[in-house]
Symmetry: C2
DNA sequence: TCAATAACTGAACGTCCGTTCACATCAAGG
DNA sequence: CCTTGATGTGAACGGACGTTCAGTTATTGA
């Protein structure tokens, strides 16, 4: 019997989430069956319902946890002083964090349409919160005359799209090291905002 | 009876492709049923098989046609002289063409994993062909000393990700006109490549 | 020792899936 | 006018789907 007050196994639960994460990222939410997830964990399909009320909630919790972890990690990140340092910190953080969690990132960007409207609204709000951190940096730099940006919202979207794109081609142990990729992207962003 | 030698209706066929395109873009390939597509067209599910051998081929042909149209349209595009003009032409073309076909673009970027390995290889090759057009421009500009790019392949991926990202937020009749968006993005790209 | 309970199985539920096919409809060609 | 062939219907196919649940097992606290 479990010691803790929380119900359900503390071993199988995380395994279910990890298996779902891998399979959702690889095949897409709609193409993954509960039986596949269960087989990956090593249990029967019925056992999954000890750890999630349904398939939709399994996806939603994965995405919500991921978005909250992004936000929390950015809070903890050392950012330096001034908009320029902060922008560099953001770019490097975004690339590094996303490369560490390719499956989560893939799901967060591809499976928005698989969420119910209520769940979508929650995730969308968290995503917007993250984008606002970048936009605030750009607006501060613009106000200081350090950046030359015609539209901070547009620049925010452009930079995030560019940085997130790393996940589509970067391979560990490939031609370019992560540090080198970070530096090159940071330089492109710095020049793009006119600094 | 049809005059032309080609089999099948020349009215319903395109309707099937359009309905599939809309639904695949909105809900994802795996989440769309043949019965849904048929209902959108106004026929029974069985009738779809007069126009496609199966669901997978329907997706594949949509993606192949789209990629071929992108390549053909870029061929026709007036490009101007020199790497700088050509890069501007590419950026403006990419944004404009993609905004004109949001459903096709969404499918082309999201449903790669829904393709069989053989079909995936075909689409991937066409996509690479398109990327190579941009990379050639960047390499030419780098050779001429007009651009300052540490890695042309990386810059290619970064620019395409950034430009394609417009589709995720741009809305016709919104705060920014398409022309203004084109100009701002082009300026960001120009500065990002050091020109 | 034994009742309690967490963890899980295996079968079943109603439904929906992609696809097939025998048959109906109907405009046009000879 | 009557055959032909394109165009479609509607029912059916076997299988897979998400989810439920009665029952089995194993481990624990008292």
């Amino acid at each position: 019997m479990a010691r803790k007050t929380g119900s359900h196994s503390e071993i199988t639960g995380p395994l279910v989430r990890k298996a779902a994460q891998r399979l959702f990222a690889r095949k897409g939410f709609a193409a993954v069956t509960m039986r596949e997830i269960a087989a990956e964990v090593g249990v029967q399909a019925g056992a999954l319902y000890l750890y999630t009320p349904d398939k939709q909630t399994l996806l939603f919790e994965l995405m919500r946890t991921h978005m909250q972890e992004v936000l929390a990690a950015w809070e903890r990140e050392p950012k330096g002083e001034g908009p320029l340092k902060r922008l560099e910190a953001f770019c490097r953080f975004h690339i590094r964090f996303h490369l560490e969690r390719p499956d989560d990132v893939f799901i967060a960007y591809m499976e928005l349409r698989s969420l119910t409207p209520e769940n979508f609204a929650v995730i969308e709000k968290l995503r917007h919160e993250y984008e606002d951190h970048l936009e605030a940096i750009l607006a501060a730099g613009q106000a200081d005359g350090i950046f030359r940006i015609p539209d901070t919202r547009l620049a925010t979207m452009a930079i995030i799209a560019m940085l997130t794109g790393v996940n589509t081609w970067f391979r560990e142990g490939g031609r370019l090291s992560r540090e080198r990729v970070e530096r090159i992207y940071w330089n492109m962003v710095r020049r793009a905002v006119g600094a």
